[in-house]
Protein backbone atom coordinates (compact mmCIF):
# COMPACT_ATOMS: atom_id res chain seq x y z
CA UNK A 1 0.00 0.00 0.00
CA UNK A 2 2.99 2.30 0.18
CA UNK A 3 2.58 3.97 -3.17
CA UNK A 4 -0.80 5.20 -1.98
CA UNK A 5 0.75 6.56 1.18
CA UNK A 6 3.60 8.19 -0.65
CA UNK A 7 1.07 10.00 -2.81
CA UNK A 8 -0.88 11.01 0.29
CA UNK A 9 2.31 12.33 1.84
CA UNK A 10 3.05 14.49 -1.17
CA UNK A 11 -0.52 15.75 -1.48
CA UNK A 12 -0.35 16.66 2.17
CA UNK A 13 2.27 19.27 1.20
CA UNK A 14 -0.21 20.71 -1.26
CA UNK A 15 -2.67 19.92 -4.05
CA UNK A 16 -1.13 18.62 -7.25
CA UNK A 17 -1.82 16.96 -10.56
CA UNK A 18 -0.89 13.39 -11.39
CA UNK A 19 1.75 14.74 -13.70
CA UNK A 20 3.44 16.69 -10.92
CA UNK A 21 3.25 13.74 -8.54
CA UNK A 22 4.86 11.59 -11.18
CA UNK A 23 7.73 14.07 -11.54
CA UNK A 24 8.30 14.36 -7.82
CA UNK A 25 8.38 10.60 -7.55
CA UNK A 26 11.09 10.48 -10.18
CA UNK A 27 12.99 13.42 -8.69
CA UNK A 28 13.08 12.57 -5.08
CA UNK A 29 11.27 9.44 -3.96
CA UNK A 30 12.57 7.21 -6.72
CA UNK A 31 15.60 6.29 -4.66
CA UNK A 32 13.46 4.20 -2.35
CA UNK A 33 10.24 3.74 -4.30
CA UNK A 34 9.62 3.53 -8.01
CA UNK A 35 6.30 3.77 -9.77
CA UNK A 36 5.25 4.00 -13.37
CA UNK A 37 3.19 6.95 -14.53
CA UNK A 38 0.30 4.67 -15.37
CA UNK A 39 0.35 3.16 -11.92
CA UNK A 40 0.29 6.55 -10.25
CA UNK A 41 -2.82 7.61 -12.15
CA UNK A 42 -4.44 4.28 -11.39
CA UNK A 43 -3.74 4.62 -7.68
CA UNK A 44 -5.07 8.19 -7.66
CA UNK A 45 -8.33 6.86 -9.08
CA UNK A 46 -8.72 4.21 -6.43
CA UNK A 47 -7.71 6.64 -3.69
CA UNK A 48 -10.41 9.00 -4.83
CA UNK A 49 -12.88 6.11 -4.61
CA UNK A 50 -11.70 5.50 -1.02
CA UNK A 51 -12.48 9.15 -0.31
CA UNK A 52 -8.87 10.00 0.53
CA UNK A 53 -8.75 12.58 -2.25
CA UNK A 54 -10.97 14.89 -4.21
CA UNK A 55 -10.14 16.14 -7.67
CA UNK A 56 -10.99 19.19 -9.66
CA UNK A 57 -10.71 19.69 -13.40
CA UNK A 58 -8.85 22.86 -14.37
CA UNK A 59 -9.28 24.31 -17.83
CA UNK A 60 -6.09 25.80 -19.21
CA UNK A 61 -5.53 27.79 -22.38
CA UNK A 62 -1.78 27.62 -22.70
CA UNK A 63 -1.48 23.94 -21.79
CA UNK A 64 -3.64 20.81 -21.84
CA UNK A 65 -6.37 20.76 -19.21
CA UNK A 66 -5.46 19.12 -15.95
CA UNK A 67 -6.93 17.44 -12.89
CA UNK A 68 -5.78 18.69 -9.51
CA UNK A 69 -5.95 16.30 -6.56
CA UNK A 70 -6.51 17.45 -2.99
CA UNK A 71 -6.15 15.37 0.15
CA UNK A 72 -9.28 15.05 2.31
CA UNK A 73 -9.54 14.73 6.11
CA UNK A 74 -10.04 11.05 5.65
CA UNK A 75 -6.84 10.96 3.58
CA UNK A 76 -4.93 12.81 6.29
CA UNK A 77 -6.18 10.35 8.84
CA UNK A 78 -5.05 7.45 6.69
CA UNK A 79 -1.62 9.05 6.29
CA UNK A 80 -1.32 9.54 10.04
CA UNK A 81 -2.28 5.93 10.71
CA UNK A 82 0.27 4.68 8.25
CA UNK A 83 3.00 6.87 9.70
CA UNK A 84 2.42 5.63 13.20
CA UNK A 85 2.02 2.01 12.22
CA UNK A 86 4.82 0.19 14.00
CA UNK A 87 6.98 -2.84 13.51
CA UNK A 88 5.42 -4.47 10.48
CA UNK A 89 7.24 -2.64 7.78
CA UNK A 90 10.32 -1.97 9.79
CA UNK A 91 10.78 -5.72 9.53
CA UNK A 92 9.90 -5.22 5.89
CA UNK A 93 12.53 -2.54 5.55
CA UNK A 94 15.23 -5.04 6.38
CA UNK A 95 14.17 -7.14 3.42
CA UNK A 96 16.32 -6.89 0.37
CA UNK A 97 15.01 -8.15 -2.93
CA UNK A 98 17.77 -8.23 -5.45
CA UNK A 99 17.94 -10.16 -8.68
CA UNK A 100 21.55 -9.08 -8.83
CA UNK A 101 22.44 -10.83 -5.59
CA UNK A 102 20.64 -13.92 -6.79
CA UNK A 103 22.93 -13.88 -9.79
CA UNK A 104 25.94 -13.51 -7.56
CA UNK A 105 24.72 -16.49 -5.59
CA UNK A 106 24.55 -18.67 -8.69
CA UNK A 107 27.56 -17.15 -10.45
CA UNK A 108 29.53 -20.33 -9.74
CA UNK A 109 27.86 -21.73 -12.86
CA UNK A 110 29.73 -19.23 -15.02
CA UNK A 111 33.41 -18.36 -15.33
CA UNK A 112 35.34 -16.35 -12.78
CA UNK A 113 36.05 -13.80 -15.50
CA UNK A 114 32.34 -13.32 -16.18
CA UNK A 115 31.63 -12.94 -12.49
CA UNK A 116 34.36 -10.35 -12.10
CA UNK A 117 32.94 -8.48 -15.05
CA UNK A 118 29.55 -8.39 -13.34
CA UNK A 119 31.01 -7.15 -10.06
CA UNK A 120 33.03 -4.46 -11.81
CA UNK A 121 29.90 -3.23 -13.56
CA UNK A 122 28.14 -3.13 -10.21
CA UNK A 123 31.02 -1.15 -8.77
CA UNK A 124 30.74 1.38 -11.57
CA UNK A 125 27.01 1.74 -11.03
CA UNK A 126 27.73 2.49 -7.39
CA UNK A 127 30.16 5.20 -8.42
CA UNK A 128 27.57 6.72 -10.74
CA UNK A 129 24.90 6.55 -8.07
CA UNK A 130 27.29 8.19 -5.65
CA UNK A 131 27.67 11.12 -8.02
CA UNK A 132 23.90 11.17 -8.56
CA UNK A 133 23.32 11.72 -4.86
CA UNK A 134 24.30 15.36 -5.15
CA UNK A 135 21.33 15.76 -7.50
CA UNK A 136 19.15 14.29 -4.77
CA UNK A 137 20.47 16.83 -2.28
CA UNK A 138 19.80 19.56 -4.83
CA UNK A 139 16.24 18.31 -5.24
CA UNK A 140 15.82 18.46 -1.47
CA UNK A 141 16.96 22.08 -1.37
CA UNK A 142 14.69 22.93 -4.25
CA UNK A 143 11.59 21.37 -2.73
CA UNK A 144 12.41 22.74 0.71
CA UNK A 145 11.84 26.24 -0.59
CA UNK A 146 8.59 25.06 -2.21
CA UNK A 147 7.29 23.42 0.94
CA UNK A 148 8.95 26.08 3.10
CA UNK A 149 9.56 23.84 6.06
CA UNK A 150 13.02 23.11 7.39
CA UNK A 151 11.79 20.67 10.00
CA UNK A 152 10.39 18.43 7.29
CA UNK A 153 13.41 18.69 5.06
CA UNK A 154 15.46 17.35 7.96
CA UNK A 155 13.80 13.99 7.39
CA UNK A 156 14.46 14.19 3.68
CA UNK A 157 18.13 14.64 4.46
CA UNK A 158 18.03 11.62 6.74
CA UNK A 159 16.54 9.57 3.93
CA UNK A 160 19.28 10.82 1.62
CA UNK A 161 21.91 9.86 4.18
CA UNK A 162 20.57 6.34 3.88
CA UNK A 163 21.28 6.53 0.17
CA UNK A 164 24.86 7.61 0.78
CA UNK A 165 25.43 4.92 3.37
CA UNK A 166 24.13 2.14 1.19
CA UNK A 167 25.93 3.21 -1.93
CA UNK A 168 29.12 3.34 0.06
CA UNK A 169 28.47 -0.10 1.52
CA UNK A 170 27.89 -1.40 -2.01
CA UNK A 171 31.24 -0.05 -3.12
CA UNK A 172 33.25 -1.56 -0.32
CA UNK A 173 31.41 -4.86 -0.70
CA UNK A 174 32.18 -4.95 -4.43
CA UNK A 175 35.86 -4.36 -3.72
CA UNK A 176 35.90 -7.15 -1.18
CA UNK A 177 34.06 -9.51 -3.51
CA UNK A 178 36.43 -8.74 -6.37
CA UNK A 179 39.37 -9.39 -4.05
CA UNK A 180 37.92 -12.78 -3.03
CA UNK A 181 37.57 -13.82 -6.67
CA UNK A 182 40.99 -12.54 -7.68
CA UNK A 183 42.91 -14.34 -4.95
CA UNK A 184 44.29 -17.66 -6.12
Amino acid sequence: MSLKHGLLGLLNYGSMTGYELDKIFRDSLSFFWQAKTSQIYRELDTMECHGWLTSERIIQNDKPNKRVYTITDSGKEELGNWLSMPESDIANAMRVKSAFLMRVFFAGETSTEQSLEMLRTYREKCMEASKGMSAAYDAISKYRTVVGNDEKSKYWRIAALYGDAFIHAGLTWADKAIAVLEEK
Copy 2:
Protein backbone atom coordinates in the same frame (compact mmCIF):
# COMPACT_ATOMS: atom_id res chain seq x y z
CA MET B 1 11.38 -13.43 -13.59
CA SER B 2 13.95 -13.95 -10.89
CA LEU B 3 12.03 -16.40 -8.79
CA LYS B 4 11.94 -18.71 -11.79
CA HIS B 5 15.69 -18.36 -12.21
CA GLY B 6 16.35 -18.90 -8.56
CA LEU B 7 14.42 -22.14 -8.74
CA LEU B 8 16.33 -23.14 -11.87
CA GLY B 9 19.59 -22.41 -10.07
CA LEU B 10 18.66 -24.65 -7.18
CA LEU B 11 17.37 -27.44 -9.41
CA ASN B 12 20.64 -27.23 -11.27
CA TYR B 13 22.31 -28.50 -8.09
CA GLY B 14 20.00 -31.47 -8.13
CA SER B 15 16.38 -32.61 -8.50
CA MET B 16 14.08 -31.59 -5.71
CA THR B 17 10.47 -31.32 -4.60
CA GLY B 18 8.61 -28.05 -4.23
CA TYR B 19 8.71 -28.57 -0.51
CA GLU B 20 12.50 -28.76 -0.45
CA LEU B 21 12.83 -25.74 -2.72
CA ASP B 22 10.57 -23.82 -0.40
CA LYS B 23 12.76 -24.72 2.57
CA ILE B 24 15.99 -23.77 0.81
CA PHE B 25 14.47 -20.45 -0.18
CA ARG B 26 13.68 -19.75 3.44
CA ASP B 27 17.03 -21.01 4.68
CA SER B 28 19.41 -19.35 2.35
CA LEU B 29 17.97 -17.24 -0.43
CA SER B 30 15.45 -15.42 1.71
CA PHE B 31 17.95 -12.72 2.53
CA PHE B 32 17.72 -11.36 -0.99
CA TRP B 33 14.58 -12.96 -2.35
CA GLN B 34 11.39 -13.98 -0.60
CA ALA B 35 8.64 -16.16 -1.99
CA LYS B 36 5.56 -17.74 -0.55
CA THR B 37 5.09 -21.48 -0.74
CA SER B 38 2.07 -21.08 -2.95
CA GLN B 39 3.98 -18.91 -5.38
CA ILE B 40 6.80 -21.42 -5.64
CA TYR B 41 4.42 -24.21 -6.60
CA ARG B 42 2.71 -21.93 -9.10
CA GLU B 43 6.01 -20.97 -10.71
CA LEU B 44 7.08 -24.61 -10.91
CA ASP B 45 3.90 -25.32 -12.84
CA THR B 46 4.49 -22.58 -15.37
CA MET B 47 8.16 -23.51 -15.68
CA GLU B 48 7.17 -27.06 -16.49
CA CYS B 49 4.87 -25.66 -19.19
CA HIS B 50 7.83 -23.73 -20.62
CA GLY B 51 9.70 -27.02 -20.79
CA TRP B 52 12.39 -25.89 -18.34
CA LEU B 53 11.54 -28.72 -15.95
CA THR B 54 10.12 -32.20 -15.92
CA SER B 55 8.47 -33.73 -12.91
CA GLU B 56 8.00 -37.22 -11.61
CA ARG B 57 5.55 -38.44 -9.02
CA ILE B 58 7.16 -40.52 -6.28
CA ILE B 59 5.01 -42.83 -4.19
CA GLN B 60 6.13 -43.00 -0.58
CA ASN B 61 4.95 -45.23 2.22
CA ASP B 62 6.30 -43.44 5.23
CA LYS B 63 5.38 -39.91 4.05
CA PRO B 64 2.88 -38.27 1.70
CA ASN B 65 3.63 -38.81 -1.98
CA LYS B 66 5.74 -36.18 -3.62
CA ARG B 67 6.61 -34.67 -6.99
CA VAL B 68 10.29 -34.35 -7.85
CA TYR B 69 11.30 -31.66 -10.34
CA THR B 70 14.28 -32.02 -12.65
CA ILE B 71 15.86 -29.30 -14.77
CA THR B 72 15.90 -29.95 -18.53
CA ASP B 73 18.52 -28.87 -21.09
CA SER B 74 16.22 -26.06 -22.07
CA GLY B 75 16.08 -25.01 -18.43
CA LYS B 76 19.86 -25.05 -18.16
CA GLU B 77 20.08 -22.91 -21.23
CA GLU B 78 17.63 -20.44 -19.76
CA LEU B 79 19.63 -20.33 -16.53
CA GLY B 80 22.84 -19.70 -18.47
CA ASN B 81 21.23 -16.90 -20.44
CA TRP B 82 19.94 -15.27 -17.32
CA LEU B 83 23.31 -15.51 -15.59
CA SER B 84 25.14 -13.88 -18.46
CA MET B 85 22.52 -11.24 -19.06
CA PRO B 86 24.31 -7.96 -18.44
CA GLU B 87 23.49 -4.50 -17.22
CA SER B 88 19.74 -4.59 -16.98
CA ASP B 89 19.37 -5.95 -13.52
CA ILE B 90 22.60 -4.60 -12.23
CA ALA B 91 20.86 -1.26 -12.60
CA ASN B 92 17.94 -3.00 -10.96
CA ALA B 93 20.14 -4.14 -8.10
CA MET B 94 20.83 -0.56 -7.17
CA ARG B 95 17.13 0.01 -6.68
CA VAL B 96 15.91 0.05 -3.15
CA LYS B 97 12.22 -0.29 -2.44
CA SER B 98 11.54 0.48 1.14
CA ALA B 99 8.28 1.44 2.76
CA PHE B 100 10.32 2.17 5.84
CA LEU B 101 12.39 4.85 4.11
CA MET B 102 9.21 6.35 2.72
CA ARG B 103 8.01 6.66 6.29
CA VAL B 104 11.25 8.29 7.30
CA PHE B 105 10.81 10.74 4.45
CA PHE B 106 7.37 11.76 5.67
CA ALA B 107 8.11 11.46 9.37
CA GLY B 108 8.08 15.26 9.67
CA GLU B 109 4.31 14.93 9.97
CA THR B 110 4.69 13.15 13.29
CA SER B 111 6.55 14.05 16.46
CA THR B 112 10.32 13.84 16.88
CA GLU B 113 9.74 11.37 19.68
CA GLN B 114 7.76 9.06 17.43
CA SER B 115 10.41 9.28 14.72
CA LEU B 116 13.14 8.45 17.19
CA GLU B 117 11.13 5.48 18.35
CA MET B 118 10.92 4.23 14.77
CA LEU B 119 14.65 4.64 14.20
CA ARG B 120 15.49 2.88 17.44
CA THR B 121 13.30 -0.04 16.43
CA TYR B 122 15.09 -0.15 13.09
CA ARG B 123 18.42 -0.16 14.86
CA GLU B 124 17.35 -3.11 16.98
CA LYS B 125 16.21 -5.03 13.91
CA CYS B 126 19.65 -4.45 12.43
CA MET B 127 21.25 -5.88 15.54
CA GLU B 128 19.02 -8.93 15.36
CA ALA B 129 19.75 -9.38 11.66
CA SER B 130 23.43 -9.09 12.42
CA LYS B 131 23.18 -11.97 14.84
CA GLY B 132 21.07 -13.90 12.32
CA MET B 133 23.86 -13.77 9.76
CA SER B 134 25.77 -16.48 11.54
CA ALA B 135 22.83 -18.76 10.81
CA ALA B 136 23.23 -17.87 7.16
CA TYR B 137 26.91 -18.81 7.27
CA ASP B 138 25.93 -22.08 8.95
CA ALA B 139 23.42 -22.76 6.18
CA ILE B 140 26.17 -22.16 3.62
CA SER B 141 28.44 -24.69 5.30
CA LYS B 142 25.62 -27.18 5.53
CA TYR B 143 24.63 -26.91 1.89
CA ARG B 144 28.25 -26.86 0.75
CA THR B 145 28.63 -30.40 1.94
CA VAL B 146 25.37 -31.32 0.19
CA VAL B 147 26.40 -29.75 -3.10
CA GLY B 148 30.03 -30.71 -2.53
CA ASN B 149 31.52 -27.79 -4.37
CA ASP B 150 33.75 -25.24 -2.75
CA GLU B 151 34.04 -23.10 -5.85
CA LYS B 152 30.28 -22.52 -5.80
CA SER B 153 30.11 -21.88 -2.09
CA LYS B 154 32.61 -19.08 -2.62
CA TYR B 155 29.85 -17.14 -4.32
CA TRP B 156 27.45 -17.90 -1.53
CA ARG B 157 29.93 -16.38 0.88
CA ILE B 158 30.18 -13.31 -1.30
CA ALA B 159 26.41 -12.95 -1.20
CA ALA B 160 26.51 -13.31 2.57
CA LEU B 161 29.20 -10.62 2.78
CA TYR B 162 26.72 -8.33 1.10
CA GLY B 163 24.32 -9.06 3.91
CA ASP B 164 26.91 -8.18 6.52
CA ALA B 165 27.88 -4.99 4.74
CA PHE B 166 24.34 -3.76 4.42
CA ILE B 167 23.32 -4.59 7.92
CA HIS B 168 26.34 -2.73 9.16
CA ALA B 169 25.54 0.26 6.95
CA GLY B 170 22.00 0.25 8.33
CA LEU B 171 23.31 0.37 11.87
CA THR B 172 25.65 3.29 11.34
CA TRP B 173 22.98 5.14 9.37
CA ALA B 174 20.47 4.67 12.18
CA ASP B 175 22.98 6.05 14.69
CA LYS B 176 23.61 9.07 12.50
CA ALA B 177 19.91 9.66 11.94
CA ILE B 178 19.18 9.42 15.66
CA ALA B 179 21.99 11.90 16.31
CA VAL B 180 20.52 14.34 13.78
CA LEU B 181 17.12 14.19 15.48
CA GLU B 182 18.52 14.46 18.97
CA GLU B 183 20.62 17.55 18.31
CA LYS B 184 18.83 20.74 19.22
